[in-house]
Structure formats: structure tokens, C-alpha cells
């Protein structure tokens, strides 16, 4: 077949939930192209018909009607009228023929060849209902077939029939839908526009003009006298029937359908009144049970996708696939399985600690760094050589924590030091220490554990930190135990199971093999930018996959509509839809799948608003910021952490109320007229395809953009203006930070460190904590990370360090989310203008909240004098209140 030949297009049209997607997937084999219709965020899908070359299946949005009011409907009708596909394959739900045929009556007026496929034949059969396909075909004047899309019965035959019809180009005669004066008026309209529209669309345009359809009127732009003539006929008709034109047409369509269905469908008398679906629905939307069941379902979804399986998979992706490597599940090696591995690697970590302790003590005793003996260093040996055996033998540094005389604070685990310095404690007796750890629990950063030589303090593993063990009874770091420790071999993962090395490890090996230097540009790009940046993006994929799996299941089984039904009352108060609930909840895990989850919201306005607001509930990465600031500045108070979540809820609620009254979101409230589809068990194939489509969209579109963004940021962080590689303190980003630090001055952290930390937070929110830790280290000589950060904020704002910290935390929690989420916003919100609108809104919210916190906090709580900043904060508060409280302006929107 030649490529120049025009492809035959079969357009799939039908109501939402009629099985259109299932049919589409089975006809194309799931190899479709998914995009958006030009200019709008309505999903556009087309794919090749797998049985015939040169045939394209074009999926249209699921619609109930071809009115001019909804975006989906306008997209579908514009396509049908302007592009004129070769044939329409209209899928109708056989269990709900009346409403489904309503769209059919509109489609047939387009004058295109059409096949009607009555879906759910299996369900009909089971219920004992009979649809007389022949009779239906006679009445509708077009071929009608029965199919079961789910079981793939008749699907192919229906498409083949459509293809045949397309080749012959035969269109059916129009059935007599309209009665008496209406048909009369329509015929008159047809007469007056005959020469202005294509012959096959004549009936379509005549009906639309009768309905006073604004889109059709605009398209034809008829001269005034013709319009007046048409208007006369319509008005006469309206007067005679005492109804408006749109209602007249709708009524007559439904009346016609009622007679057709009456002739063609024989319903078996139902024994009971309740179907299985009814029974399920009676329980799950029961007045009293609905909310508990809803909470339980949401909890399960959250638990699986965010806290358990999702986290495991994300950890696997980040620490395994894009980290050191991982064990293949359920495998074990000659030295045992995972437990043996954990034990062996624990012992190795302890040995390393002993070695380090001894080396430190020896170096001190020797008076000079022992690394001097660099030359003798072997391939893998530490840069440490014991030169003076006699001196080494005298070393007994014990981690006797009860030794009050030495006051050796460095002997305490670093995690504990933070809390100690905060409470002003220098040292403990062993009893005091035990009491201290027991009393402060997790906040101390260490817990009591059973070590190799009796009780030990073990650090609680945190973000990218492994647990370290500090034996209590004191491991004696003497020469003998040092030599013993040197003997402890690093456990080989392959002895404990099938070990799969992570991508960085493999890449490192490959680089080493090729002899590429570790501090070079190529190394930096591959490891920091590509593996670091894109790895972060792909690290989200497993979690996204699970969220989408749940969403697809909830949607396909029919519960999603019930969620909207249950939650609508709450959410419409602040301009969102009942379906906004799911994205906001998913957002507590990660903003990216949350933004993607807004795809289930049909109303564009609701969807956009949800995208803008859904990331305000702190996500997992933002929790890392909370986890650093709350212990550092607020004594680890659970209230301070909880307050951030409530602040997030408040931003969503009041943000919604304020946005609803802004120009872009103004207008009639979106009609909430929603079908509650019958429950049914979704097909595995359908759910998987659904899930995969969305995940793929994320990986492809976000992945490419993120890659570019990561490379740019990495470049700014690693180079100076002369384009040579330097540390962060000398980088271009540092200079940019200096330039923009003044912006943050009113927020209390107007220093380059604050600016740079906020910028790097865009890569990933938890990056802000890493950057701060790095930048704060030179500021203070003693203490752990938290103490350093405290010192840094002490320099930012000497008088009000705690306020500055709170302001920094709020700014970074409530400004735009990370770059992945921003990119996803741009993609999902429908156009760059909307993307910028969302980001600017988010910048404004984050900045203003921080400003108000710092300036008003200073003035109200600490009694600072009234200044320009205070005035600005008050203006911000007043403006915010104005935007929230003002009545919605009228008539500003179209």
C-alpha cells in the first residue's frame, strides 16, 4: 500500500463509561498516541487499527451531547464537522440505551456514515434483557451490532463493518425524529441555508440554528435577513409549543428515543428491585456508613501508595537502582540471606567506627596527622599507618561516657550532641545518659540497642544516613582491637543473595575502566546531573505507578464518581470539586502524582484550581525540611510540625476562596450534573493500560524537561564565571544568590546562603536541608548539623533567629514545589500562560506568608519597633483578607 493514499479514519464516539476506551484499546492494541486537542487540555487519542494498515482509530472525548457548553463537546463536534471522519463508530451502553441513544440522534444528523455498536451484550444477556438489533437498525436507518468490548466479542466485527461502510461512503436516510411544527420549521431553515453549508451537514446546521447554538451561528455568520427569517420560524415554534427552542429539540429527541426503545428492547421483569450494583451502593453511600467506608478506602490507598509499598519502591529506586545496588528478593547466598547481610554490614560499620576512633586517638597522641605515611598506602588501605608501635600500645581511648573528667563531647554520637548542646549539657554519667536518652526518645537522635559488646547507643537512621553504633560499655579503642577491627572484611553482597549493583556503581566502574577522571566535567554531568537529576525523576515512577493503579481502579469500578458525590459539599465551598480530594491527599506523599491525578476532574476550571492548590499540603520531601527545622528551633514540638499541615489546609481553603473570585476562575459555577455509573469489576487490562498511559506521559514529558533543568542547575552550582569547576561557595549560583539575597531580607534571611538554599530546594525540597547543612558548617565550629544551622540563622537575623528560621521554613513549604512538580504543572494545566499564573501565585503565597510571619512576628511577639517591613506585612494581610472576603465581581467573565 502506498503511503500517499489517504488514511481511512474511524471516529469512536460515545458517552463516558460506555466502554469506549476498552474498545479503543482492543482495536489499536494499546499502541495509541496520546496528546491534547489543540489549544485545550482535553485528551486526544488516536492509534492505528491493528487489523488493517492505513486505518486510524480516532478516539473522541466521552460526551453526553453535542451542546456548545462544554469543552469536550465542542472539541468533538468541531472535529466531526470540520475534519469529517470517514465513518463514526458510535458505542452505546446497552444497559442504558435511552440516554446513550440521545447522543446517537445528534451524531446521525451530521450526515456521516455511522455504525451503532450496542455494548455490554454480556451484561444484557445475564440480566435476560433482549435488544432487537434488527429493529433498532430499521428505526435508526444505520447498521447496528451487538458487542461486548470487555470480552472482545464482536468488537472487531463492528470495526470491520464500519470500515466497509467508510469505503462505500453510504449514509443512512435521516429518521423522523421531529414532529409537526418543529420539522416544518427545521425544513424552512434548511431551505434558507442550503447553499451555505455542505449538503451532508445540512440537517446538523439547521437543528443547531434552531437551537440558537452560538458556536454554529458564529461559524456560519449568516446575513441579518436570513437570521431574522430563521428567528421568526423558531419563535413561532416556541410560541406554539410554549417552550424554548433548546428544550423543544431535547424533548422531541427523547420522545423519539422512547418510542424506538419501546419497540426494540424487551426488558425481563426484575424479581427484586435491586441489582448487585444497587446493593453495593446502598452500603457505600449509606448516610452513616459512607464516610467511614470512604475514610477506610482513602486510608488503604494512602497507606499502600504513600507509606508502605510506595515508599519501599521509591527507596528501592533511589537507594538501590540509583544507589549502591539491591538484593534480588528472596534470594540468599552461601553466607545466608538478608538478615545475615544486615548483621555482617553492621559489624563492618562498627569495625570502621573503631578504626576511626583509634586513628583519631593515635593522631592526637602522636601530635601530628598520621596520614603523613601516604606513600606506603596500599590500593585499598586507609591513609593511615602506625609508625610508632610503642606509642600505639599506650593508646586506650575508651568511649566511657561516664568519664566526667575528660568532658570529651566528641565521643558522643553527633546526633546526640545537637540535643545536648541545646539543653546546655556537656557530659553525662552513664546513668544520666541512659535517663537522658530514654526521656528524649527519638528526638535525641539515638536509641539504646544491643551492640556487639553489650548495650550500645545506635543512631536513628534518617534521610540518607545509615545507623551507627556506639557501644556504651565503651569499646576500648586500643591497638589490639584496632588490629582486630582491621581484619573485619567488608561483606561481599554476592555472598548473601543475588546482588544487583545500582546504576551509579555500574557507571562508576565503566568510567574507571575508561579512565575518566572523577573530578572532571564528564563525570559531573553524568553523575550529578543525569543520574542525580533524572534519577530523582525516575525515582518517583514506582510511587506514581501505584497511585495511578489505585486511581484507575477507583475510576473504572465506579467509586470515583461516589467520592465526588460524597465530598462535593465541602469542596465546592472553596471553588474545588469533590474529586479534588484525591489529588490533595496524594499530594501529602508527592505533588507530582497529585497533579497528574487531577486528570480525573472533568471540569477544566476545577482541575486548574486543584493543580494550583494541591501541592500546599506538605509532601514527603517538604517533611524533611520540617524534620530539620522543628527540632533545631522549636524543641521538636509536634505542634509546630502539625501547624505546618494546618497552614497548608488553610492555604488550600482560603486560596480556593480567593482564586474563585479572580478573573480567570470567574463565571457561573460549573454544573455538577454527574452520572453515577453502575459498579462493575474493572478489567485488569483496562486498569493496566490506564495506569501505563499516565505513567508514560509523566516519564516522557517530565523526564526530558527535568533533564534539561537538572543540567542547568548543576552547571550553575559547579562552575564559576570562568567556566572552571569550583565548589558551591564560588559558583555562579553563589553569585546569583548574592544578587538576589536582598529579596529575602524582609523575610529575615537576606543572605546568599538563604537564597541559594531556596533555589536548590527547587531541585527537590529536601535539597534545602542538605544545602543548608553544607553552607552552615563553616559558620560554627562545634556541635552537629542542627547547631550549625542554628548558628547560621543567628547570623541571618541576630535578634530573631527563630523567626527567621520559621520564615525560611514557611517560604520553602509554601512557594512553588520542586522543579518536577512545576514541570508537571506546566504540562497538565494547559498552556504556559496558565503555568506561569500558577507559579506566580505560588511564589506570591510563599513569599507573603514568610513576610507576614517574620515582620508581624517581630512586631507583635518580640515587640520590635514599627517599620517599613511591618507596614508592608500589614498591607499584605489586608490585601489577602480583601481577596478572600470581597464579593465575587459580576459580569467580568465571559
Amino acid at each position: 500500500m502506498s503511503t500517499s493514499e489517504k488514511k481511512i479514519v474511524i471516529a469512536l464516539a460515545g458517552n463516558p463509561n460506555c466502554g469506549k476506551t476498552t474498545l479503543f484499546n482492543s482495536l489499536t492494541g494499546g499502541t495509541e498516541y496520546v496528546g491534547n486537542w489543540p489549544g485545550v487540555t482535553v485528551e486526544k487519542k488516536d492509534g492505528p487499527f491493528k487489523k488493517h494498515d492505513g486505518v486510524v482509530i480516532q478516539d473522541l472525548p466521552g460526551i453526553y451531547s453535542l451542546s456548545p457548553y462544554s469543552k469536550e463537546e465542542v472539541v468533538a463536534r468541531n472535529y466531526l464537522v470540520e475534519q469529517s471522519p470517514d465513518v463514526i463508530l458510535n458505542i452505546v451502553d446497552g444497559t442504558n440505551l435511552e440516554r446513550n441513544l440521545y447522543l446517537t440522534t445528534q451524531l446521525m444528523e451530521l450526515g456521516l456514515p455511522m455504525v451503532v455498536a450496542v455494548n455490554m451484550a454480556d451484561v444484557l444477556k445475564k440480566a435476560g434483557d433482549v435488544v432487537d438489533v434488527k429493529k433498532l437498525s430499521q428505526e435508526l436507518h444505520c447498521p447496528v451490532v451487538e458487542i461486548s468490548a470487555l470480552k472482545e466479542e464482536g468488537s472487531l466485527a463492528a470495526a470491520e463493518l464500519a470500515l466497509e461502510l467508510a469505503k462505500s461512503g453510504k449514509t443512512g436516510e435521516l429518521p423522523h425524529v421531529y414532529k409537526g411544527s418543529v420539522e416544518h420549521a427545521v425544513a424552512h431553515i434548511e431551505e434558507s441555508i442550503e447553499d451555505k453549508v455542505p449538503a451532508h451537514h445540512l440537517r446538523w446546521f439547521a437543528i443547531k440554528l434552531f437551537e440558537r447554538d452560538s458556536v454554529a451561528q458564529k461559524r456560519l455568520s449568516l446575513p441579518g435577513d436570513v437570521m431574522a427569517h430563521i428567528e421568526q420560524h423558531v419563535a413561532d415554534c416556541e410560541k406554539e409549543l410554549d417552550d424554548d427552542a433548546e428544550s423543544i429539540i431535547t424533548n422531541q429527541r427523547y420522545a423519539y428515543i422512547a418510542t424506538v426503545v419501546g419497540m426494540a428492547v424487551k426488558k425481563k421483569a426484575r424479581k427484586g428491585n435491586l441489582t448487585t450494583s444497587d446493593k453495593i451502593d446502598r452500603v457505600v453511600t449509606n448516610r452513616w456508613l459512607a464516610l467511614p467506608i470512604f475514610a477506610a478506602i482513602i486510608w488503604i490507598m494512602y497507606y499502600v501508595s504513600v507509606t508502605t509499598v510506595g515508599t519501599w519502591l521509591t527507596d528501592w529506586a533511589n537507594d538501590g537502582l540509583f544507589g549502591d545496588g539491591w538484593f534480588l528478593a528472596w534470594t540468599s547466598g552461601e553466607k545466608g540471606g538478608r538478615e545475615a547481610w544486615d548483621e555482617a554490614s553492621g559489624a563492618f560499620a562498627e569495625a570502621k567506627a573503631r578504626i576511626a576512633a583509634f586513628q583519631e586517638a593515635y593522631s592526637e597522641a602522636a601530635g601530628a596527622p598520621a596520614e603523613a605515611a601516604e606513600a606506603e598506602k596500599g590500593e585499598d588501605a586507609p591513609a593511615f599507618v602506625v609508625a610508632d608501635e610503642a606509642l600505639a600500645a599506650t593508646i586506650t581511648r575508651t568511649f566511657r561516657l561516664e568519664d566526667e573528667e575528660s568532658g570529651e563531647v566528641t565521643n558522643y554520637p553527633e546526633a546526640l550532641q545537637d540535643l545536648m548542646s541545646e539543653k546546655g549539657v556537656d557530659s553525662f554519667s552513664r546513668e544520666e545518659l541512659l535517663a537522658f536518652v530514654a526521656e528524649n526518645g527519638e528526638a535525641a537522635g539515638v536509641k539504646l540497642a544491643e551492640g556487639k559488646d553489650g548495650p550500645a547507643l545506635e543512631t536513628i537512621p534518617g534521610e540518607s544516613k545509615e545507623a551507627e553504633s556506639f557501644p556504651l560499655a565503651g569499646f576500648v579503642a586500643d591497638y589490639g582491637s584496632y588490629q582486630e577491627a582491621l581484619e573485619v572484611e567488608e561483606p561481599e553482597p554476592s555472598d548473601y543473595g543475588v546482588w544487583v549493583p545500582g546504576i551509579p556503581v555500574l557507571a562508576e566502574k565503566a568510567f574507571a575502566a575508561m579512565g575518566i577522571p572523577e573530578d572532571g566535567i564528564a563525570h559531573g554531568i553524568v553523575f550529578d546531573a543525569i543520574i542525580g537529576g533524572v534519577g530523582t525523576v525516575l525515582g518517583f515512577v514506582p510511587q506514581i505507578l501505584i497511585v495511578f493503579l489505585f486511581l484507575a481502579f477507583l475510576e473504572d469500578c465506579g467509586y470515583m464518581a461516589r467520592i465526588a458525590f460524597i465530598m462535593d459539599r465541602i469542596f465546592r465551598r472553596f471553588g474545588l470539586s469533590g474529586k479534588s480530594f484525591i489529588p490533595i491527599m496524594v499530594g501529602m506523599g508527592c505533588g507530582v502524582p497529585a497533579i497528574m491525578a487531577t486528570r480525573t476532574i472533568e471540569q477544566e476550571r476545577d482541575r486548574r484550581m486543584t493543580i494550583m492548590l494541591t501541592t500546599y499540603l506538605p509532601c514527603g520531601a517538604k517533611a524533611a525540611i520540617i524534620a530539620m527545622f522543628v527540632p533545631a528551633f522549636f524543641g521538636g514540638s509536634a505542634w509546630a510540625a502539625t501547624a505546618m499541615y494546618f497552614l497548608g489546609i488553610a492555604v488550600i481553603v482560603f486560596g480556593g476562596i480567593a482564586l474563585k473570585k479572580t478573573r480567570p476562575f470567574l463565571g457561573d459555577p460549573a454544573p455538577f450534573v454527574m452520572e453515577l455509573p453502575a459498579y462493575h469489576w474493572p478489567s485488569l487490562r483496562g486498569v493496566l493500560i490506564h495506569t501505563w498511559e499516565r505513567t508514560k506521559a509523566y516519564m516522557v514529558k517530565a523526564g526530558t524537561l527535568i533533564f534539561a533543568a537538572s543540567v542547568v542547575l548543576w552547571f550553575l552550582m559547579s562552575f564559576n564565571w570562568r567556566l572552571s569547576m569550583v565548589g558551591l561557595e564560588e559558583s555562579i549560583l553563589h553569585d546569583i544568590g548574592v544578587c538576589f539575597a536582598w529579596i529575602f531580607a524582609p523575610l529575615g534571611f537576606g543572605r546568599w546562603e538563604g537564597a541559594v538554599a531556596s533555589v536548590t530546594a527547587l531541585i527537590a525540597k529536601e535539597q534545602a536541608t542538605a544545602t543548608l547543612a553544607m553552607l552552615a558548617e563553616p559558620v560554627a565550629a562545634v556541635g552537629g548539623t542542627l547547631a550549625h544551622v542554628r548558628a547560621l540563622f543567628g547570623e541571618f537575623s541576630p535578634a530573631y533567629p527563630v523567626l527567621a528560621a520559621l520564615s525560611f521554613m514557611i517560604m520553602n513549604l509554601f512557594d512553588p514545589p520542586c522543579i518536577v512538580a512545576i514541570m508537571t504543572t506546566f504540562r497538565e494545566i494547559g498552556g504556559a500562560r496558565w503555568g506561569w499564573f500558577a507559579v506566580l501565585f505560588q511564589i506570591l503565597v510563599g513569599y507573603c506568608l514568610a513576610l507576614v510571619t517574620y515582620q508581624l512576628g517581630k512586631w507583635v511577639v518580640y515587640g520590635a519597633s514599627f517599620g517599613a517591613g511591618t507596614a508592608a506585612a500589614i498591607v499584605v494581610v489586608v490585601l489577602a483578607l480583601f481577596f478572600i472576603v470581597r464579593p465575587a465581581p459580576k459580569g467580568a467573565a465571559k
Binding site: N96, S247, Y254, D281, T285
Partner: protein
């Protein structure tokens, strides 16, 4: 005038007239609530709004404010 909003749960009423205009009205009609249609109120959402209807053999949910636009009479 009795509207669909006033119909008790479990009761069926017949649509007499649709008030309102534009998108909401058209949407309601498109979904099959037209003059003369029998509509049964199935239940009220747990938080008191919206309501669930049975119309033309399927379940439809609309807000009470929109239900108030639909004049009905007892079957």
C-alpha cells in the same frame, strides 16, 4: 410550586418544567430530565448535598440548588 428539591427520598415525581437557562439547564436536559420524565429521588449524600436520582433507568447526581430549578408534580 413544588420542585425536585422538595421531593422526599424514595418518592417519584414527574417533571413539569425546567427553569434556569444556559449550561446548567441544557446539561440537565441532556442527561434526560425533560418535561414529563419520571424522576425518583434515591438518596441524599452523607453531608446533605447533592442528591442522587434515578432517571431513565440510570443514576444521576445533581446539587440541591439545581434540583430547585426543576418544577415537578406528584406521580
Amino acid at each position: 410550586m413544588k420542585t425536585l428539591r422538595d421531593v422526599a427520598v424514595g418518592e417519584t415525581a414527574k417533571v413539569k418544567k425546567l427553569n434556569g437557562e444556559g449550561a446548567v439547564k441544557r446539561r440537565i436536559m441532556d442527561m434526560g430530565i425533560t418535561k414529563g420524565t419520571a424522576v425518583t429521588v434515591r438518596k441524599v449524600a452523607p453531608l446533605g448535598d447533592p442528591i442522587e436520582l434515578t432517571v431513565r433507568g440510570y443514576e444521576l447526581s445533581i446539587r440541591k440548588d439545581d434540583a430547585a430549578l426543576i418544577d415537578v408534580e406528584e406521580e
